[in-house]
Amino acid sequence: MTTTAPPRPQRDDTPVRGRGWQQPQLPRGTSWYALALAVVVTSGLHAGLAIALLPALLAGWAVIGIGYPVVSYAIEGRRKALDRLVTIVVASAFAMAMVPLVSILWTVVKNGLPVLSAEFFTYSMRNVVGEGGGIYHAIWGTVLITAAAAAMAVPLGLLTAIFLVEYGGDGRLAKVVRFLVDVMTGIPSIVAGLFAYALFVVAFGPGVRMGFAGAVALTVLMTPVVVRSSEEMLQLVPHELREAAYALGVPRWRTIVKVVLPTALAGLVTGITLAVARVIGETAPLLITVGITDSTNFNLSDGRMATLPVFTYSSIMSPGVPPEPSIARAWGAALVLMLIVMVLNLVARLVTHFFSPKDKR
């Protein structure tokens, strides 16, 4: 950017200018012409000569990725040519990273949207063979299990964060807990599921499947996320507020409940929403602790339940005969799941945007 800026007027007086100190440069906007040429080559090869998309893209990229730096090398010299080459490589990397995102969104919406209907949301899969049926049971299972997990993880995580920020300081216990929360963040989700299963086997015997076990597994995954975000938010509360409360003779716990928590509320809500969004799409732990069923089951402590992620998984992995309706339902459930996660993320951002104190960001 700095290299293409036109010379400032006062530079005209500098004596060195006459000696041609400035290297010849490609005119501004050459990059865009090169890009346009690459697009023309790609679309020309693909549409005009009916060459497959991938080779056509490679050829187009060669125009801008190889041809353009070579031209630059001839005119501007090695250093600028290298700079332009890196710019192109880095921009291409970003474009490449966008491909899977766009492709995922596109295929899920394209395959999932036709499936969505009133029946899809209001029917379970009980006694459904072939077409029809829906995800009513899976939605309820996901809501109940996630709510149970949140009911355990949020108080646990929040209180731990309060301990770390308000009481622990740099004490030994606080250090150990911070480290263990780090460790917990790295627990693979399937290991959390195995833990919940092993725990419930001890209590209920082998082969146990129940919603509550899934909730325990999700709690293991959710708690460290809640601790992390809450700790960060509580640390943002200005210390002056606490000191003002102490000066007025307010006990410490009332200061926390009445001053610190309300101040940090927006941030806490955002963090908890994001934590819920993270665990609601977890498949592996639910697959091995809760399993899947075709009927609606509202009882967390009584046998298998259906959940959206596991429903998606089992619909695609064991579709039955004929497979098409089941595969279609898998796409539909995937779309619903993604919509839920996106909405939760959006809500989290909106809460931060509208309710956080105005002096931040």
Binding site: D83, L101, V191, A198, E232
Partner: protein, 321 residues
């Protein structure tokens, strides 16, 4: 802490603070300390229960488990597959993530960079089962052609020796899906590290006449090296433990092979658990739990190393994602 700021008289008035307040304080401290201790207990519980349920699986004789092998023979190919797929994912994801982070930090206007960063973060919001669905129904099909081409033209390399899979559901496909899944976290950490590069150094390099790439090569990259390594290892931890995408994409046959495109692929520990668990019974379940314990130990070690490297770069919040 509050005591030190109070003048002398309140010393004995501290004794007369209403006992109700003191009781509330004690209770609240007890509650929050209890929560912190619960975290300790949970983690100890994870280790204890996995070990307790896993040991019978480790000591089980070959004819008592479904695999029909000793535990070591059962778990070694899985460990190999886990490490191999995660390494491949890392080889794909890290250069891409660093380039993306450079792009959004140094090559586009700041506001646009922020927005593009959010867009990359969107990838992190996609549930893993959706990645699996996409990988198996979309990506695998797209890769059949390129794999055949690789076999025909680069077949002399052991990685691309045939026969190329007809479904495209190979270890390389799984690694690509894994790479896409860990891209957001590696990118986020790289961005955070780059943002911490001292602006004065950047400007000094530019003022000396460096091109943008020379500035990045001489200032930004050396400054961010350890942070990027830590970020990559956190990504490795994610890739090691990722279950559903691999379980759905890979058609595994439990071999040890470096071949990237053939139809016989090594499985991974988490994918194997997910696929076998619901049909397993008796000691086979214990063997699967024991393999989970092995996975736990591996990811624990990787994460520990990553944290150590990241924390060397003092306080920085990006690693907390």
């Amino acid at each position: 802490m509050t005591d030190t700021s109070t003048p002398s008289p309140p010393r004995d008035s501290a004794e007369t603070v209403p006992s109700k307040g003191r009781f509330g304080d004690r209770m609240f401290l007890g509650l929050s300390r209890g929560a912190a201790l619960t975290i300790l207990v949970i983690l100890a519980g994870v280790a204890v229960f996995l070990t307790a349920e896993g040991i019978p699986g480790i000591t089980a004789s070959p004819d008592e488990v479904k695999s029909g092998k000793t535990f070591l023979a059962f778990v070694l190919p899985l460990v190999f597959g886990t490490l191999w797929s995660a390494t491949l994912a890392l080889l794909i994801a890290v250069p891409l993530a660093v380039a993306v982070a450079l792009f959004v930090t140094y090559y586009v206007p700041r506001r646009l960079g922020h927005t593009l960063g959010y867009v990359i973060d969107l990838l992190a919001a996609v549930p893993s089962v959706v990645f699996g669905l996409w990988g198996m129904r979309v990506l695998a099909g797209q890769l059949v052609g390129p794999y055949a081409w690789l076999e025909a033209n680069l077949g002399f390399l052991p990685f691309f020796g045939g026969p190329a899979s007809a479904t495209g559901r190979t270890i390389l496909t799984a690694a690509i899906v894994l790479a896409v899944m860990i891209l957001p976290i590696v990118t986020a950490i790289a961005r955070e590290v780059f943002r911490q590069t001292p602006v004065l150094l950047e400007e000094a390099a530019l003022a000396l006449g460096a091109t943008r790439w020379e500035m990045i090569r001489t200032v930004v990259l050396p400054h961010g090296r350890s942070g990027m390594i830590g970020g990559a290892m956190l990504g490795l931890g994610r890739a090691l433990g990722e279950t559903m995408a691999v379980a759905m994409v890979l058609s595994a046959s439990g071999v040890i092979s470096f071949n990237l495109i053939s139809s016989s692929n090594p499985s991974t520990i988490p994918a194997n658990i997910a696929l076998q668990f619901n049909e397993a019974s008796g000691l086979t379940v214990n063997a699967l739990i024991a393999s989970g314990l092995v996975l736990f130990v591996i990811t624990f070690a990787v994460n520990l190393a990553a944290r150590a490297i990241v924390n060397r770069r003092k306080e920085f919040s990006g690693a907390r994602a």
